[in-house]
């Protein structure tokens, strides 16, 4: 269903929206975050159904990363709640985080560790036992085509390999829901296809995946649901077909977000 929400001007003190859906993998209500003068996210309500492959799209600076950070326990919202499979993440972070696998965008890794050490570290931090961690580390390295670089320090990895190893740290504890911020950035096409297969498999087996991206084609092919965010507001959300309504997702996105320039500009840039 397409519901372009009107832009609220101030944080909703008592959220007028529906109560959080306990069956949803992620249920966000009235999320609001300001950084100084700038409102990054202005009241986002979103339900991610369990078992869905959800795409979050929006232009640069739309608030995608801020929203996902608040939904995964990395950034405390000014207002609003985030429920993970019915658990209020900010009231009970330990239980909430245990069900989430997170790939944040734009953060470093402990890159003086080798790839294998980093995955092991993530597993042990989650409180898993040594044997399971060892077994899954081997599997993950193989699945992500990193076995040959298992003993290389992460600092020496390329950008794409770094993305993949970060993804492995998010997968090790077999979370019920994966939240991936820009998982395909800088990843080569072959690895991207491998990752897509892994994620699709995971969704088929009952897991939920949320990815943010600004590659519309990718989202249209890969996801079954999509939400469009711009300027800190949710512009549309639903299944891909509902949101695009016959047009291509890209055209629909541009229509929703606006801001296409006419081709007059930068005459001086023409080289001849």
């Amino acid at each position: 269903m397409v519901e372009p929400t009107p832009a609220p001007q101030s944080p909703a003190v008592d959220s007028p929206s529906a109560p959080p859906d306990p069956r949803a993998a992620l249920s966000l209500r009235g999320l609001w975050k300001r950084f100084g003068e700038k409102t990054a996210v202005a009241g986002i309500d979103l339900d991610v159904p369990a078992g869905s492959f959800y795409g979050l799209v929006g232009p640069n600076g739309a608030g995608k990363t801020t929203t996902l950070s608040m939904a995964t326990g990395l950034l405390r919202p000014d207002h609003g709640t985030a429920h993970v499979h019915g658990t209020d993440l900010w009231a009970d972070p330990v239980a909430g985080k245990a069900r989430l696998g997170v790939l944040p965008d734009g953060v470093r890794l402990f890159d003086r560790l080798t790839g294998a050490q980093l995955i092991t570290y993530a597993g042990l931090l989650r409180g898993m036992d040594r044997d399971t961690v060892a077994e899954r580390t081997t599997d993950l390295l193989a699945a992500l085509d990193l076995t040959a670089d298992a003993d290389t320090f992460v600092v020496d990895y390329s950008a794409g390999m770094t993305k993949k190893i970060a993804l492995a740290t998010a997968l090790i504890h077999a979370p019920r829901t994966l939240v991936l911020d820009e998982p395909f950035e800088a990843v080569d096409p072959v690895s991207a296809a491998n990752i897509r297969d892994i994620l699709a498999d995971y969704v088929r087996s009952g897991g939920t995946v949320v990815v943010s991206s600004h590659v519309m084609d990718l989202v249209q092919r890969m996801c079954d649901h999509v939400a469009v965010v711009a300027g800190g507001h949710l512009l549309a959300a639903g299944t891909i077909d509902e949101v695009r309504g016959g047009a291509s997702l890209e055209d629909r996105f541009v229509e929703l977000v606006g801001g296409r320039q006419s081709t007059e500009g930068l005459a001086w840039l023409r080289s001849s």
Binding site: T72, G73, L74, L75, R76, P93, V94, G96, K97, A98, L100, V102, P104, G106, V107, R108, L109, F110, D111, R112, L113, T114, A116, Q117, T120, Y121, A122, L124, L125, R126, G127, D129, R130, V133, D151, T152, F153, V155, D156, T169
Partner: protein, 526 residues
């Protein structure tokens, strides 16, 4: 171009204030402190210059030389060099190297230490207000001296950075850089013995004599210009001018060359190393605490920012031996407690050192207890035997076996207390530190005062909490009292254990409550 760089620096400072009120407060405090120092120095020198210009000249040269030396050497060990205008960021603008250097040098003066040095240097010149020509010469000298400070500090840090970043050379360079410091010992001892049993006039002669010598060194020469002109020694003035200009020239060329090379070979983490297996991760217990401990231990060995903070420890005994004038000196007893303190203080900015990689701790929801103890345990496990060995070695060298219990109490007490305070501090205070992979000597943008204030706060608390043990231990050693020695040992261990447990517990509570905020603070520096 120079004006643009200075404007950019000022703009960056102003923007820093907009980001954080604390930074403004810290800056104002620093400014106040700076104004105080400038006022004292200038007024003091002018008063002295009016009554005894020769003495004033000698003292200006001596203090000035120490200031220049400080500008050159201190950034290599502590605080780093202000990287607000990191030359790396200008690579793509295609600015001619000569203009880039001039701009960076001018902008280098625009900082609290720079301004304090510059204003003091210029103000001190007016000690010769009775001889206008000498004032003029002194002003020229002051400009030269300030340039020497800025250019020299850039030259040493830029030229040595690549060496200091690679582990193989770091020890060598640290030793080399320590040589001047080690020489201070004998010089000081010589001066003291020279002054021994000498009255005021003798002391004056000694200071003036030392000043004459130091004025020939690259550090002292510019400060001696005014004095030479005042005495009418034109040849001497010319010679000092030549020494200053030559030093400045050499510094400039070294900086120029080093920067040229640094700009096309940005720092890398060394040629792709590989490790075998899981290292500490397979040896430590498979629990969150064990995992954090394994990661921390790995970082101590592999991250120059950690190993750099303890690189000077092997040199301490040498310095103390020289300072103390050979074996048998009680100065040597300082070694073990100082080492213990350095080890404990090294983790006081641990979360900041993680940088945004800390997000992994937040997203996995690791609890505060595991995070805090995981960071403490490797230091504790490695630090206890090392500091005990140091304590035994130092009582042996000092020839004071009777002081062993007191020394052990002091050492272990300091280690435990500083670890406890660090555990609490690193969960609460996050300030910009060199990023992973950056030079440990590069102070991040806009850090300056915030770092100093935070570190001073942690240090003050550490000192206050160690004070009981310190008083007991010093009394036991100086008196000497065997009973007090054992009391020191018991109090040191007891107090230390309590502070460590409480510090870690408080840190864990703060961490559990505020880890997302901690992460956001770090992200805001990124």
């Amino acid at each position: 171009m120079v004006a643009q760089f200075v404007r950019l620096k000022l703009r960056l400072m102003a923007n820093g204030f907009r980001r954080s009120a604390w930074q403004t407060i810290a800056f104002l405090l620093g400014l106040l402190y700076g104004v105080g120092i400038v006022g004292l120095v200038v007024v003091g020198t002018i008063v002295l210059g009016s009554s005894d210009p020769v003495m004033a000249g000698a003292i200006t040269v001596l203090v000035g030389a120490v200031v220049v030396l400080g500008w050159w050497v201190v950034p290599l060990f502590a605080f780093g060099v202000d990287a607000t205008l990191d030359p790396q960021r200008f690579v793509l603008f295609g600015i001619p190297q000569r203009r880039l250097l001039a701009g960076l040098a001018a902008a280098g003066v625009v900082s609290i230490p720079g301004i304090v040095t510059a204003v003091s240097a210029l103000g001190v010149s007016f000690a010769w207000w009775r001889t206008p020509l000498a004032v003029l010469a002194a002003l020229v000298g002051a400009v030269l001296a300030v340039s020497l400070c800025v250019v020299g500090s850039r030259a040493t840090t830029t030229a040595l950075a690549p060496l200091l970043e690679s582990r193989r050379y770091r020890e060598v360079v640290t030793v080399a850089a320590f040589v001047p410091l080690v020489l201070i010992g004998p010089a000081f001892a010589g001066l003291m013995s020279g002054l021994d049993g000498v009255d005021g006039d003798g002391a004056r002669a000694a200071v003036v004599g030392l000043g004459d010598v130091v004025a020939w060194t690259p550090f002292g020469a510019p400060w001696g210009l005014g004095a030479a002109v005042h005495d009418g020694a034109w040849g001497l003035a010319l010679a000092r001018l030549v020494v200053s200009l030559a030093t400045l020239g050499v510094g400039w060329v070294v900086w120029d060359r080093a920067l040229r090379r640094a700009l096309v070979t940005p720092p890398t983490a060394g040629a792709g190393g590989r490790a075998k297996g899981l290292g500490f991760f397979s040896r430590f217990p498979a629990t969150p605490t064990g995992a954090v401990a394994a990661r921390t231990a790995t970082y101590w060995l592999r991250d120059p920012r950690y190993s750099g903070s303890i690189a000077v420890i092997p040199l301490l005994p040498v310095v103390l031996l020289v300072l103390g004038g050979g074996p048998g000196s009680e100065v040597f007893l300082v070694l073990a407690p100082v080492t213990a303190w350095m080890l404990g203080f090294a983790i006081s900015a641990d979360v900041a050192y993680d940088h945004t990689a800390f997000a992994l701790h937040v997203s996995t929801g690791v609890d505060g207890r595991a995070d805090r103890w995981g960071r403490v345990l490797p230091v504790l496990v490695a630090g206890v035997p090392v500091t005990i060995a140091f304590a035994i070695a130092s009582v042996w060298v000092a020839g004071r076996w009777d002081a062993l219990p007191a020394e052990l109490g002091l050492t272990l007490g300091t280690l435990l207390v500083s670890l406890g305070v660090s555990s609490a501090a690193s969960a609460r205070l996050v300030y910009p530190v060199p990023k992973p992979g950056d030079s440990p000597f590069k102070q991040p943008q806009g850090a300056g005062m915030a770092v100093m204030v935070s570190q001073s706060a942690a240090l003050a608390i550490m000192f206050a909490l160690t004070l009981p043990v310190l008083v007991l231990g010093v009394l036991a050693i100086v008196l000497p009292s065997a009973v007090l020695g054992w009391v020191t040992l018991v109090v040191g261990l007891g107090l230390g254990a309590v502070v460590l447990v409480l510090g870690a517990r408080w840190g864990a509570r703060v961490y559990d409550r505020r880890s997302p905020e901690l992460l956001q603070r770090i992200v805001s520096f990124a």
